[in-house]
């Protein structure tokens, strides 16, 4: 019984045939290819052409060809084909039909391959998006840098023009120019900040700051701004706050300023309140709660998430126009400082935005650390300043600012090649160095100065004048032993403050 089943089963899936050494069929059991005696196997399917050269080996050998698709006009099968050759007998071909088995395997292979290909395509798309994002951010950074240069000129000359004899109308126009250029400057700063945050290039400082002095400055600024709009400004600062903290006061100021500016912008009447309180001190860290409340137009609950998204503005009327980046920057900075931002708002009643941040305690700071640089301190001396700058606007800006002080002699060099000869021929007290110089970067030139054999020359303080302030740029300046950086666009105060810091 079993033997009969076996014969029936094998007969259904096997075809055996013998050929001569040229491929002529001698015997066949006709399972798939019927009535083929005396035909050449080449005529059955192109596969058999490929094995004709193996038929004449006259050696005992076995060749297995697995998973061959034998598609003919009558039948399509997927088979394993074994060719056996013998020393004295005719070659034997065994065709085993494994169509069901291979079709099942095909389904598995299809799923696997599609999944691999899709994941490779996804990876590529992701890579493309990252590259596109990096290109965008680099473009923004470079573009913003280019805008800073003329903006610096506008800002400086408005300040200078303000000190001349102007009638009321002219002074009003000048104020508009100043406000507009400040607004433009802030927008550029916002765009630069968000692009830095998005590529993970925004590094936080860790420096000591006086908590009271820090908050007093903010309160003073925003009391004035609130009053200008007819609003009350309240503050509740807890007395228990530590005197000195370690953290990034500039970014903390940016967070609070953005939130307070926003509160004032969207409040027509009522008040703005700043609450700062101590949550706890643990493991030498103070956790501080900040909250800004207003009685403004409020935000509908469904928009809570959107307000922290880049370029998103809920209220898009002309009066409230801006880049829509302020709150996105706030959220990113708070998260960068390991805090979380929370929002509560009643539509048409007001909004409260709060966050908690941890700062290390600065126990070493017993005395006042905030130094005020006195611009007047060295008024009897005259200093020789060398400005290395190719932009005529910046040259004129620095010239006007320093000339007004009447305590500086200014030499201007636009070609980097002339710098070292100038240093050798004239006594220079300080160098102001543009970084984007023609043919040579400012930091390369600084390195060359630091390598000069003359001790007094290589020690001259060098201050970079630049808008390129990414962490990798700052590292380069430090490596070139550049003493400090004056950020473009600069104003009179920041320029003089940094210069005086390095004058002996």
């Amino acid at each position: 019984m079993l033997a009969e089943h076996k014969i029936v089963h094998q007969k259904a899936i096997y075809q055996y045939l013998t050929t001569d050494n040229k491929g002529l069929v001698l015997e066949s059991d006709d399972t798939f290819f019927a009535n083929i005696q005396s035909q050449n196997i080449i005529a059955l399917h192109p596969f058999f052409y490929s094995i004709t050269n193996l038929l004449d080996t006259k050696k005992e050998e076995e060749f297995l060809f697995s998973c061959i698709h034998l598609d003919t006009d009558n039948k399509n099968i997927i088979a394993d084909i074994t060719l056996k050759t013998f020393a004295k007998e005719n070659p034997l071909l065994i065709i085993q039909d494994l169509t069901t088995h291979y079709n099942n395997y095909q389904l598995t292979a299809q799923k696997r391959n599609e999944s691999v290909i899709n994941s490779q395509i996804l990876e590529l798309k992701n890579k493309y998006l990252i590259e596109k994002e990096e290109f965008k951010n680099t473009f923004i950074a470079n573009f913003s840098h280019e805008i800073r240069e003329p903006l610096s000129g506008i800002s400086t000359f408005v300040d200078i023009l303000k000190k001349t004899n102007l009638n009321t109308e002219q002074a009003d126009y000048l104020n508009i120019i100043k406000t507009s250029s400040n607004h433009l400057k802030h927008m550029i700063e916002d765009i630069l900040d968000i692009s830095k945050i998005e590529v993970g290039k925004l590094n936080l400082l860790e420096e000591s700051f006086n908590t009271t002095a820090f908050l007093e400055e903010i309160i003073f600024t925003y009391k004035v701004k609130a009053k200008e709009k007819g609003l009350d400004f309240n503050n509740n600062i807890e007395e228990k706050l530590p005197n000195f903290l370690l953290g990034d006061p500039y970014r903390l100021k940016q967070i609070l300023s953005n939130l307070l500016d926003n509160a004032i912008k969207y409040t027509k009447k009522g008040s703005i309140t700043l609450d700062v309180s101590l949550n706890q001190i643990r493991a030498n860290k103070a956790n501080i709660h900040f909250e800004i409340k207003d009685t403004g137009i409020g935000i509908e609950e469904e928009n809570f998430e959107n307000i922290f998204t880049s370029f998103s503005q809920i209220n898009q009327n002309q009066q409230n126009k801006g880049t829509g980046l302020g709150l996105a920057i706030v959220k990113s900075l708070v998260e960068l400082m390991h805090g979380n931002i929370a929002i509560q708002s009643d539509f048409n009643k007001g909004t409260s935005i709060s966050f908690n941040l941890s700062f290390k305690l600065d126990g070493s700071s017993k005395k006042e650390k905030v130094k005020t640089i006195s611009v007047e301190k060295k008024e009897k001396e005259k200093y020789n300043v060398l400005l290395v700058e190719h932009s005529e606007i910046t040259q004129l800006s620095v010239l006007k600012i320093l000339a007004a002080q009447k305590r500086f002699f200014l030499d201007i060099v636009s070609n980097p090649e002339d710098v070292i000869p100038t240093l050798k021929n004239q006594k220079i007290d300080i160098i102001l160095m543009d970084i984007n110089l023609p043919n040579k970067t400012g930091d390369t030139l600084a390195q060359e100065i630091r390598q000069l054999p003359e001790k007094e020359l290589k020690k001259i303080p060098i201050l970079a004048l630049t808008g390129k302030l990414f962490p990798e740029d700052l590292k380069r300046y430090k490596k070139a032993k550049i003493n400090d950086v004056i950020r473009k666009p600069f104003d009179e105060k920041s320029l003089l403050k940094t210069i005086h810091k390095y004058l002996k």
Binding site: P46, F47, S50, I51, I68, D71, Q120
Partner: protein, 163 residues
């Protein structure tokens, strides 16, 4: 006069080997990807000159991301090799140099044509930017979909096979 020659197509899965053959043999194309398992064998006559034709027995092999895993029996009696990669998927040409060296070492007297397929999916700039990667190896940039250089590829190889 007509002679028959076996050629095989090698390369990763999904690079378009079957599509190139379908375009060459049947002049058709489909966007639906169907995995090849084992081997499909097709035949096509190629006119070399007025008097001469070559009957190409084309073995369309299952894609494999490691060329050394190709079943040796498939390679028996091969007169020519077409190695195909997908221009739009770097994973398929990451090992290009090693794969070509492997083929040339193991089948030293067999003509090989190296093909960057799916040209329709990449830009001219992409080809320029990657010139250093492709130029030393690639013989044809093809597109089975757009029918670019497909006939050139097979007839060039066919001519080399009867030299």
């Amino acid at each position: 006069m007509s002679i028959s020659k076996k050629i095989i197509l090698l390369g990763h899965f999904g690079v378009g080997k079957s599509s190139l053959i379908r375009r060459f043999v049947e002049d058709t194309f489909t966007d639906n990807y169907k995995v090849t398992i084992g081997v499909h064998i097709l035949k096509k006559e190629v006119n070399i000159s007025k008097e001469e034709t070559v009957s190409l027995i084309i073995w369309d092999l299952e894609g494999n991301d490691d060329i050394t895993n190709t079943r040796p029996s498939y390679m028996l009696g091969t007169s020519g090799i077409i190695y195909v990669f997908d221009l739009s998927r770097p994973a398929t040409y990451k090992q290009l140099e090693n794969d070509i060296n492997y083929i040339k070492t193991n089948y030293p007297n067999t003509p090989v044509k190296v093909v960057g397929n799916k040209k329709d999916l990449v830009t001219k700039d992409f080809l320029k930017e990657n010139n250093d990667v492709f130029k030393p190896f690639v013989d044809f940039f093809t597109s089975a979909k757009a029918n670019t250089k497909v006939n050139d590829l097979f007839s060039t190889l066919a001519k080399e096979l009867i030299l």
